[in-house]
């Protein structure tokens, strides 16, 4: 039943995602993409739990350690670069 609940959440999230993203204007597509890309680094949550709870030195632990490093790069670089880009978007008044 737990699994059905996750499927349910998945489907609802898909509809929500479509609603949210359709409203983003084309001029913001690059920040949207790098922003959602940073969000997809949330896989770091899974990697962290995996890394911290396995026997040190096992292949699983090593792989999840690397996964944490990779996902952290994804998250940190993604958010910073998105912020950098959005900081450049100015309207006329803000000159």
């Amino acid at each position: 039943m737990d699994f059905m609940l996750l499927i349910f959440i998945f489907v609802i999230a898909a509809f929500l995602g479509v609603e949210l993203i359709s409203k983003v204007p084309s001029q913001l597509h690059t920040p949207l993409m790098s922003g959602t890309n940073a969000i997809s680094g949330v896989t770091v949550v899974g990697a962290l739990a995996m890394c911290a709870t396995q026997f040190t030195g096992s292949l699983g632990m090593v792989l999840s350690f690397i996964a944490v490093v990779l996902a952290t790069i994804n998250v940190v670089a993604g958010y910073i670069v998105t912020d950098r880009m959005l900081g450049m978007f100015k309207n006329k008044g803000a000159k």
Binding site: V18, P31, M33, I39, G78
Partner: protein, 471 residues
């Protein structure tokens, strides 16, 4: 309990963050909120029961906190350096590579779960593990290949070979079979292990065969699609770990990537299937005949161009990937300021697929301090085209090719274009007389009202702006 509340807060912050991204004014704040959400989700893991337990271990090497702290530190340092160093023109490359390593992280988590007891637990978890590996690994090699094409480490051209579709179909079939074998509970563990290793290999290859046939100019679609796949891989990890925050955010990202993919496809008048399986740009030696075939494009000097610009009361810039290559955005800003001082109305027309990723041109123009009110979409600018005195095409080609409207034999027939040819005069800034990346003859160049200015776009624009100064 607290963990779930933290995850819920994180999800809400992600959703509000994406919502705020839909307006330039609130976008930056939205990105902040989503980063705060991420921080909450990450900190929450530190209070996960199993992680807390590792604190009590006598051997400090067994302490989970130690390892995750080291990993986060390494990742953060690399991430900050990359993000600070990247040039805005190189954004597509950075997004491609970040996407690739994010996808690899998901695949690794799936694989580590498999390593725990080599069975994957119940069938549902096993299928999730299989899909996380398949999608994550394919998105990884696909992203790296896309990065290679963008950075021109490998030829950007579409590479097609016979039997490509048959090969892809076979790869998918074997991948699905491996996942099924892995998920059947009664099967011998040895067979399952082999199935997973086969799956890993197939997935890595599939990412390559998926992206290989797609050419440089179709990169906006590929990046969007791979972005979407990475999101789905995250959701699969969520299914493996029964983690709601991963399922929700993975799905949001997946939806976002798919929508962008569809927008890009629509802007090129092509279906996803056509894009992935036909190898666009490979079979178009038979370029369109063109209206005024054979007419040699007229070229013009910078001085003459200046005279025309000086008397123009409305000017529209149409940037393309060439502007990014020439790093001409700041020169463009300078020229546009001069034109405005001179009393002309200046706007910028951005085609949805101009550049190498969705919205690429907008970011470059924003970097050059051009206010976003001046940036017009294709739909906004086209009705005003006949009243524009001068249209300046900078390194754009296919997106202004009138053959897309008139010539049924043209490979890009039916693609919506920016109607530069309807402006009173069109300047086309081009490096040389060669064709664009797609190899299609551009009918615009031989039109009566079109004037070519050959040379480096940045130098040309700078000297045009210089003429205004000299005045």
């Amino acid at each position: 309990m607290y963990l779930n509340i933290a995850y819920m807060v994180a999800c809400v912050l992600f959703i509000i963050g994406i919502k705020k991204l839909s307006k330039p004014k609130s976008a930056r704040q939205g990105n902040m909120l989503s980063a705060v959400g991420m921080l909450i989700a990450v900190v929450a893991v530190f209070f996960d029961n199993d992680v807390v337990k590792s604190w009590d271990t006598s051997n400090w090497l067994q302490n989970g906190y130690l390892w995750i702290a080291i990993a986060i530190a390494i990742g953060s340092v690399i991430g900050v350096i990359w993000a600070k160093k990247v040039k805005m023109t190189k954004m597509p490359e950075l997004v491609a590579i970040l996407n690739g390593i994010g996808a690899l992280a998901s695949a690794f988590v799936g694989f580590s779960e498999f390593l725990k007891d080599n069975t994957g637990g119940n069938a549902v978890t096993a299928v999730s593990i299989g899909l996380a590996i398949l999608i994550g690994a394919a998105a990884f090699t696909g992203s790296i290949l896309a990065w290679g094409k963008l950075a021109e480490k490998i030829p950007g051209k579409a590479i097609v070979f016979r039997g490509q579709n048959a090969l892809n179909a076979l790869l998918i079939l074997v991948a699905v079979a491996s996942i099924v074998l892995f998920a059947i509970p009664s099967l011998d563990v040895q067979i399952k292990v082999i199935a997973v290793y086969v799956l890993c290999a197939i997935s890595l290859i599939f990412g390559v065969t998926l992206v290989l046939p797609i050419g440089g100019g179709d990169m906006p679609v590929v990046i969007s699609l791979i972005n979407s796949l990475t999101g789905v891989a995250v959701a699969m990890v969520g299914f493996i770990l029964s983690n709601t925050v991963l399922v929700v955010t993975g799905c949001l990202v997946g939806a976002s990537g798919i929508i962008l993919t569809l927008i890009m496809c629509k802007a090129m008048n092509r279906s996803i299937g056509n894009l992935l399986f036909s190898g666009f740009g490979s079979d178009k030696k038979t370029a369109g005949k063109g209206g005024s075939a054979g007419a040699e494009p007229k070229s013009i000097s910078v001085e003459d161009a200046y005279v025309m610009l000086e008397s123009a009361s409305s000017v529209v810039f149409i940037p393309g990937y060439g502007m990014a290559v020439a790093q001409a955005q700041h020169a463009v800003k300078e020229l546009s300021a001069k034109l405005e001082e001179n009393g002309a109305e200046v706007s910028f027309a951005v085609h949805p697929v101009a550049g190498r990723m969705p919205g690429h041109m907008n970011v470059l123009l924003a970097e050059a301090d051009i206010p976003y009110e001046q940036l017009k979409t294709m739909e906004e600018i086209n009705p005003t085209m006949p009243t524009q005195d001068v249209a300046i095409v900078i390194g754009a080609n296919d997106v202004v090719n009138p053959s897309a409207e008139t010539d049924k034999s043209s490979p890009i027939y039916g693609m919506p274009i920016i109607k530069a040819h309807e402006a009173r005069t069109v300047f086309v800034l081009k490096r040389g007389k060669g064709k664009g990346f797609s190899g299609i003859e551009n009918e615009l160049f031989s039109r009566q009202n079109a004037l070519m200015i050959y040379g480096d776009a940045k130098a040309t624009i700078s000297s045009l702006a210089g003429e205004f100064k000299a005045e």
